[in-house]
Symmetry: C2
């Protein structure tokens, strides 16, 4: 199961009980943290996110509302006796910032912390379960979105057919990988006779902070769900452009052109105390839109 839980949906300054950006992508028992604004560790407590299950943290860019909570989280992991290795993917100056703060506090972490500098388009994580990539967005400073694509699972055996065709046990894993079986008499038992396809892996894209920027479409095309920022309503599209942000209508246009299935919108400006208008404006262009609400888990 691939899902995302929103911990913070506001832009720059916390307001109206909305917090700076952070979300947890959950897949198969692993928590991937995406951005870590100030107070993320407290939001994790509030929403019962299991911190011990976090193995990878992705930071989109170095504006404070996307990472000021990271050093506190890393520090708390240390104090709480976190055991497993932790991988942080972020633009390059972050490592120096974090290491300086740990150094002046004379802090030695009890777990291994690995920094990975991201740049351009790149494959960041690739294992048998998931593939995670970054792609550039258009923001005032270097900024990245992230895609999470669940790997296609092994095909499923149709056990009756497998047995009828006398496929030996040791070949079952080959069948799951899609291979045909050839009997000692040279007869071909075609894979599709004895297996069914596994459902296609789910996918999610976090589009970070960005202007309306069509080049991201290639990276998120046909995704099951995307999160796109909507700092402003469309009547402030000029301000959005100047400040390298997007409007809800622009987020919806990207979702539509990329042929995604569902759109989550967030990163609301602190000038808005209510959010209904964002949802309405986006749904006019892309009906399957929802507000990204803090504490809510969106299953994909």
């Amino acid at each position: 199961m691939l899902a995302v839980t929103i911990l913070g949906n506001n832009s720059a300054v916390p307001a109206f009980d909305r917090h700076p950006t952070s979300q947890v992508v959950t897949h198969d028992g692993v928590n991937y943290l995406v951005d870590c604004g100030e107070g993320t560790q407290i939001q994790m407590i509030n929403y019962k996110i299991r911190r011990g299950k976090i193995s990878h943290i992705f930071i989109s860019h170095l504006h404070g509302d996307h990472y000021f909570g990271l050093v506190g989280l890393l520090n708390s992991f240390g104090l709480l006796g976190h055991q497993q290795e932790l991988h942080v993917y972020a633009p390059s100056p972050l490592q120096e910032i974090i290491e300086m703060q740990l150094r002046v506090a004379d802090t030695r972490l009890c777990y291994q912390l690995h920094f990975h500098t991201i740049s351009g388009e790149a494959l960041l994580v690739d294992n048998e379960k998931i593939e995670i990539r970054c792609f550039p967005t258009q923001h005032r400073i270097e900024c990245y979105g992230f895609t999470f694509r669940e790997k296609r699972k092994p095909r499923k055996l149709i056990l009756d057919s497998v047995k009828q065709n006398n496929v030996p046990l040791h070949f079952y894993d080959n069948l799951k990988d899609g291979e045909d079986f050839i009997t000692s008499a040279g007869e071909v038992i075609r894979n599709e006779w004895v297996t069914t396809a596994a459902p296609k892996g789910k996918s999610y894209a976090f589009c970070a902070d960005t202007r309306y920027f069509e080049p991201i479409i290639d990276h998120i095309r046909d995704t099951d769900m995307i999160y796109h920022e909507t700092t402003y309503l469309d009547n402030l599209r000029e301000r959005a452009f100047e400040r390298f942000h997007s409007t809800s209508k622009q987020a919806a246009l990207i979702a539509k052109k990329a042929n995604v299935k569902r759109l989550l919108i967030g990163h609301f400006s602190s000038k808005y105390d209510t959010l209904e208008e964002f949802e309405k404006e986006a749904r006019d262009v892309f009906p399957n839109t929802d507000l990204a609400l803090e504490g809510v888990t969106y299953r994909i």
Copy 2:
């Protein structure tokens, strides 16, 4: 009026809805912020602290639970159009940490930010209303407490006596400063005949993180109220010593030996979900003790 409002009363890791250290000392319309753990700006919103009235920030030491919220607060001040100058007093590496984070975000603050490095015992602020000093405590890294001493106000004129003694109007301010008046005939009108003393200025001391450390007593003697850390109960005094912290009994002993009027205790370890025992233990030694509770303003 001198008062302190607690924004965070917990030690290292946030827990049980308790936050890392921060408090606001209010005097005569000015807010002085003491320490700024992660989430302080959100606590300020929760407890309606007027951020615009903050002109001075004092950071006791560079363990994260005492300053990780500072960069976010400074950043938000910028985004919210803070106008007045801001003075930050802290151990030296803080300036570099903050400036690096502002630089990588390409942030230019709209207000003047002045860093003052503290070391040893020093007078930090001295104006007609208040005197603020720092003093060293005994912690794992360089650490300071702060004293706030309201200046004695001008003496009050006894207007009937002033007039009976024919003191001219232009000398009234000299009377308020305690001077005698000498008539043209050489007669001495003694100050205490025509004025009464103003009440003595109030005082408060924040004793930061520290082991039980008697040398701080000289700095806080006879203070109206002190805040002293009590990370542990007294049965863990060995752990407190190892980790450069204090127990509630030790905090109370310091308050007693320093002859202060009232003791606030805080910086509770996250291992304690309830706090009654801290209060009980301290009151056995120093009865006028209270728990420092978040959101509560303690008038001095």
